[in-house]
Amino acid sequence: MAEPLLEVKDLKVHFPTEDGLVKAVDGVSFAVSPGETLGVVGESGSGKSVTFLTVLGLINRKSAKVSGQVLFRGQDLLKLPVDELRNVRGSKISMIFQDPMTSLHPYYKVGNQIGEAIRAHQRVSKKEAFSQAVEMLRRVGIPRPQERASQYPHEFSGGMRQRAMIAMALSLNPDLLIADEPTTALDVTVQAQILDLIDRLKQEFDAAVVIITHDLGVVAEHCDDIMVMYAGKPAEYGDRRDIYYAAHHPYTWGLLQSIARLDQEQQERLQPIKGLPPSLIFVPPGCPFHPRCPYVMDVCKVEVPQLLPANGHHASACHLTLEEKDRIFKEEVMARR
């Protein structure tokens, strides 16, 4: 297996607040290999965004307690001095965010904002950076890029803005692109376009991609590996086929079962997961999912399950045995689909 590009080991991000210690990320470990796409799935509050904001150092160090390791090409980003970290941001690891309307500065032309990203890392003139920006806009499929680069963000449509953000993120040919809910704020029709664009550009730019989303449908088509997160901890990790055809965690089962299907007769009501996500201050003891789990056992209430690999690199943090997991998946989860 290739040397991993990004390796996160036991990352914990805790925020001390007046109400208590918010354990936003509580022991997450994963790896991203060059050229691969990792999908990170979870509900709001599962810690998926905070994990990657911490990777890039965008979490305010003064208000958070961060422990663990974030190894990018072997270098621990958490220990890097600020100016070196800035070199990494934007040029080696880039991130795009959920709402492209508010993520671009309303007062500056789009071309100049992209140019600014370029000039932060390369010594080029403003004109040169601007023409590189125009070229990037063309590569992300924006028509009449020369004209568009001289326009302001509010003159772009939602899908175009996200394309512009992607252009900005890829302008310095990073090794890793992190896309935090890139399609959540967009129309369904545009979502597919953007995801296809990311796939295509990934090939062209030879980059690894992380897609953070709460939408299992998004991950299904576009990701090689998937990590399911719950309450700041990883619940399951595996490749696409493992998760969809051999899932081993009750939370994943719940997610799979709650997908609305257009191709089935409307026989049963949608099956949501019972209960609500837990508070990150008062996380349930043992397995954080146990209050909502239909297969809960006594040990689940006491002991935190570790993310243990079953076969290959498919791993799930659950106390059920492998046989039980396989059985339950076949009989109960697959049957309903």
Binding site: L58, V82, R86, G90, S103, L104, H105
Partner: protein
């Protein structure tokens, strides 16, 4: 663009018309006493009073009287504050002459104070926002509280006492006899007035800048700027402050516009011959054309400032331009 400007000019005339109408009502129709008698002076006879009445147009019906003043509203040379109607009942000179001779004082006062309050308020606001809850922030906000709470008339006398009387650092109040306003400014006569006048504004601007910058720094585009790898200084100034300052610019335009019409307490305490003090005198002397003239003049400045501020805002915020 041209249509926009024409609309704004018409709006200007409308505002002047309303303001002058209200002023007319308040000062002509409401007060007791007979202006003609007052204008005729102490040793007045019925004939002189009658002559004064005719000369001042007080024998004509109310609306005609008003219309004479209304003609002076048109912001065009020859019409604006025309010499026939806007003629002082007390010192028998055209109002415009009085106003224009006192205007340099207010311009100097306003511009100087504006520079001081921007140089004081903005940096304090920015540093307070960046270093929140630090010693600097706390003391900056205490300064702001004091600046806004301490009354100008008290501050002025205290400063005069300390810096002029005790320490002899600045010249006393008033413009020395014979000196032009400009020379007086270099002489130092305006230093205390500038400081005293600007304190409240500096305090207010510090608070506003701080609040705006804190809010702006929590916007999504700041996160994007950091994710791009920009230096923190660039993120704060080019991305954060640029957005935060736009409403401040608007406020600044309005403040300058209002101040150009005079700062009454400052002028009075420091014995500066400005428009606001003149307005108060005129009210006391029941010199209605003067009151009307000053009011119209000040309103003119405010409305023009309003217009300029809108144009500048469109220049600063591209989202506003196409509406």
């Amino acid at each position: 663009m041209i249509r926009y400007l024409i609309r704004r000019v018409l709006f200007l005339i409308l505002v002047l018309w309303i303001v002058s109408g209200l002023t007319f009502l308040i000062f002509v129709k409401l007060p007791p006493g007979d202006p003609a008698r007052r204008a005729a002076g102490r040793t007045s006879t019925p004939q002189t009073i009658h002559a004064a009445r005719i000369a001042l147009g007080l024998d004509k019906p109310v609306y005609v009287q008003y219309l004479r003043f209304a003609k002076g509203l048109i912001p065009w040379p020859g019409f604006f504050l025309n010499k026939q109607v806007y003629y002082s009942w007390s010192d028998f000179v055209p109002i415009s002459e009085n106003i224009y001779s006192k205007l340099p004082v207010d311009i100097t006062l306003t511009l100087g104070a504006a520079v001081v309050w921007l140089l004081m308020g903005l940096p304090i606001g920015v540093v307070s926002a960046i270093r929140r809850r630090s010693i600097f922030d706390r003391s900056g906000m205490i300064f702001a509280l004091l600046g806004v709470s301490l009354p100008v008339f008290w501050l002025a006398y205290v400063f005069l006492y300390v810096f002029w009387f005790k320490l002899h650092l600045v010249p006393g109040s008033g413009i020395p006899q014979g000196m032009s306003v400009l020379r007086a400014a270099f002489h130092g006569s305006f230093i205390l007035p500038w400081v005293v006048l600007s304190l409240a504004f500096a305090a207010f601007y510090a608070r506003m800048t701080r609040a705006n910058l804190i809010e702006t720094m929590s916007e999504d585009y700041i996160r994007t700027a950091r994710a791009k790898g920009l230096s923190e200084r660039r993120v704060i100034f080019k991305h954060g402050l640029r957005s935060a300052l736009t409403p401040i610019v608007t406020m600044f335009g309005m403040d300058v516009g209002v101040l150009l019409g005079g700062a009454v307490i400052t002028e009075t305490v420091f014995n500066l011959d400005g428009i606001a003090r003149y307005a108060i005198q005129s009210i006391r002397r029941n010199d209605f054309p003067a009151v009307m003239g000053v009011t119209v003049f000040a309103s003119f400045f405010i409305v023009v400032a309003n217009l300029l501020v809108d144009v500048v805002y469109a220049f600063l915020d591209p989202r506003v331009r196409y509406s």
